[in-house]
């Protein structure tokens, strides 16, 4: 440890730390663009220049190691002038795009202009321009806005492990781009929208949808795989517009993959199951639940309750699975419980110093496989066809609780064949699917963004899922569904026609 002073503050700092790292750790604001705590130091923006006693020139805080007795001054006239100078330089070519730029409200250039810049602009020459470039499915490059911090290049090359962006040309003509107009292939490309401190790289998925200050932010989880990335869901007027990573060193550092971000497509998709049906006819939820209740009562009377299969999916929360388990055991009286879940990845889980491309995205595409196995005490199968094939034998009725079961069917023909011999099928799901089309009773469920609960990720961490938007139509969580079911009338009146 070494003792240093930054302005008025005496600090004990680690020997291998830079001035910037120490300052940020102690809440001292030193403005910076190119520095990112998880990327290699570049030192090119020059915004973090500070005065250090006994050194004649200003030094970049991000590139200067602390030394015993160092005195750093961040508020002197020289430093203020240097910051003004850098801000002025950055703005001479930067287009006044704020009204049409998605970064507005989350933009460092805006924030620093306000705090450190000058009001007047002395630049009277023409600005250098570049063509806008489509970088593929996920990103747009607005090169005019770029401040050449190279964070994007460093992220893809050093963190993601996929060197797809690079610098081309020289001097003021320097461009950040792919090789001759190629699309980005990296499944981590959307992190660039956050990594880029300005609006030079923006997400196509979110383009022009809303301003950040208009949206409500809810900390939640990504349901895309068993990593359980911590995420923030951004919603505006009941619509989920954006999914961004939330920091958690042990789980996802501060990254998410593109597939995870696209999970929000499911929330407002056209194929949401929003109303209940009985034998293809639309009914109210309570009518459908009553119909299900009647089916179960019939089985009880016929003494075949023990041959009813209840199938749950590892897309459900631990609380929902708990409810399903109780329903099966106590409510129905069957031990035949099946689970749709994924297998643990053989690759190591933890954030290692290896590129994201080698370990980040887990093979198990269920968010709660481990939680499901722990709660239900059984192993699972990845697809419904595999599950049905593994349990031959008599079946008095099939009750499936899922979320997005359409993605988990496996061999659809095999599923159809097996279902054919089953007296009844009841499907509770958030999306419509070929399976729900075969069901006698369809019940709408909340999706991952519409219920709260916990998922247990592959490493065994139980994490909180939050309800962000209301479920569409009559959707409800499985907990609520089971609760209604146990209170529903058991006689034949509620069966409907």
């Amino acid at each position: 440890m070494v003792k240093i002073r930054i302005d008025d503050m005496e600090i004990q700092a680690g020997e291998d730390q830079t001035v910037l790292q120490v300052a940020l750790a102690h809440g001292i604001q030193i403005p910076h663009f190119c520095f990112h705590p998880r990327l290699k130091v570049a030192g090119n923006c020059r915004m973090c220049l500070v005065e250090i006693e006994k050194m004649p020139k200003l030094q970049i805080a991000c590139g200067t190691n602390v030394r015993e007795g160092m005195v750093v001054l961040t508020q002197t006239e020289r430093v203020k002038k240097a910051r003004q100078a850098v801000m002025e330089f950055l703005l001479i070519n930067h287009p006044l795009d704020c009204p049409v730029c998605d970064q507005c409200g989350e933009c460092r250039l805006q924030d620093y202009s306000f705090e450190y810049g000058k009001v007047e602009c002395r630049y009277r020459e023409s600005r250098r321009t570049f063509p806008r470039m489509d970088l593929g499915e996920t990103l747009v490059r607005d090169m005019n806005r770029c401040i050449h911090c190279t964070r994007c290049i460093r992220f893809l090359r050093d963190v993601a492990g996929q060197e797809e962006l690079g610098l081309a040309e020289r001097g003021g003509h320097t461009e950040v781009g792919t090789y001759v107009e190629m699309a980005l292939e990296s499944p981590f490309s959307l992190n660039l929208a956050e990594v880029c401190p300005v609006g030079a790289l923006t997400s196509k998925l979110f383009r022009f949808k809303a301003r950040p200050w208009m949206m409500d932010r809810t900390p939640t989880l990504c349901p895309g795989c068993s990593r359980g990335c911590n995420a923030t869901a951004w919603a505006y007027r009941g619509k989920l517009l954006r999914f961004t990573p939330r920091e958690n060193e042990a789980v996802n550092r501060c990254w998410m993959c593109d597939f995870g971000r696209r999970c929000l497509d499911r929330v407002h998709a056209d194929d949401r199951l929003t109303w209940a049906s009985v034998r293809g006819q639309r009914v109210t939820r309570s009518q459908a639940i009553a119909a299900l209740s009647a089916l179960l009562e019939e089985a009880r009377r016929a003494g075949t309750a023990g041959e009813v299969w209840v199938i749950a999916s590892a897309s459900l929360t631990n609380e929902e699975l708990e409810a399903v388990s109780r329903l099966a055991r106590e409510g129905i009286g069957t031990a035949r419980v099946g689970l749709l879940a994924g297998q643990p990845d053989e690759r190591a889980f933890g954030p290692l110093d290896t590129p994201l491309s080698e370990w980040f995205i887990r093979k198990d595409k269920f968010p709660n496989s481990r939680g499901a196995r722990d709660t239900l005490g059984i192993e699972g199968q990845e697809t419904l066809s595999a599950l049905l094939a593994a349990r031959p034998g008599s079946c008095a009725g099939l009750l499936v609780f899922g979320e997005d079961l359409g993605a988990r069917l496996g061999d659809l023909a095999a599923v159809r064949a097996r279902i054919g011999s089953v007296p009844w099928l009841v499907v509770a799901d958030s999306q419509r699917s070929p399976l729900s089309a075969l069901a006698q009773i369809e019940l709408p469920l909340s999706g991952f963004a519409e219920k709260s609960g916990t998922y247990t990720n592959e490493a065994g961490m139980a994490q909180k899922l939050a309800a962000v938007v209301p479920a569409p139509g009559e959707g409800q969580s499985v907990v609520s569904l089971v609760s209604e079911l146990t209170r529903a009338p058991r006689d034949l009146e509620g069966k409907g026609d």
């Binding site: 489509d134 593929g136 747009v140 797809e164």
Partner: protein, 179 residues
């Protein structure tokens, strides 16, 4: 918004280098502890053979040195000597930096461009001459200086320049006879 992103497949307009060139590449690689360090000399070799560097050539170089293509492109586009467009038979690169300008290089360049009927950066219609204005060539004591296909021509003036152009045109004609 246009979606002109395309995937560049290996093999599209693939370039074939002479075996001697590939051999020399292998020899160059021995000079360095990492293959990447040979990139610039290798690019020179390839450019000397092909006379310019089409994108397909860059793909081949990336393959030979096991480098991401975006890195090769970044290097090629950084350095002024690498040509990403075909030039005329004779590349006339005239220095217009301070010392040469003090000795009349800008007038010389105007004279040259007028004679050939083009502006700096362009090639004559018959594909013979490309004119570029370049930065200091390190021969300031003999200003004005011009490179002709990389060869130094110093102490120039309009008369010498005219003579040189005639000589080059004659050379080109001769080449056509023997070609």
């Amino acid at each position: 918004m246009s979606t002109q992103t395309k995937r560049r497949e290996q093999g599209e307009d693939a370039v074939r280098l002479r075996p001697e060139t590939e051999q020399r590449v292998m020899e160059l690689l021995k000079r360095y502890p990492v293959a990447e360090a040979a990139l610039i000399p290798v690019l020179h070799l390839v450019q000397d053979e092909l006379d310019w560097l089409p994108v397909a050539a860059l793909d081949r170089v990336a393959e030979l040195l096991s480098l991401p293509r975006v890195r090769v492109y970044g290097v090629v586009s950084f350095y002024s000597m690498f040509r990403r467009e075909k030039a005329g038979r004779f590349r006339l690169e005239i220095c217009t930096n301070l010392s040469c300008s003090l000795m009349g290089a800008t007038h010389l360049s105007e004279h040259l461009c007028q004679k050939l009927g083009l502006r700096p950066g362009q090639t004559t219609a018959d594909g013979l001459f490309t004119v570029e204005e370049v930065e200091c060539l390190g021969a300031c004591g003999c200003a004005p200086v011009m490179l002709v296909n990389g060869e130094f021509h110093e102490n120039l003036d309009p008369a010498k320049l005219d003579e040189l152009l005639d000589a080059l045109r004659a050379e080109a004609k001769e080449g056509a006879h023997h070609g």
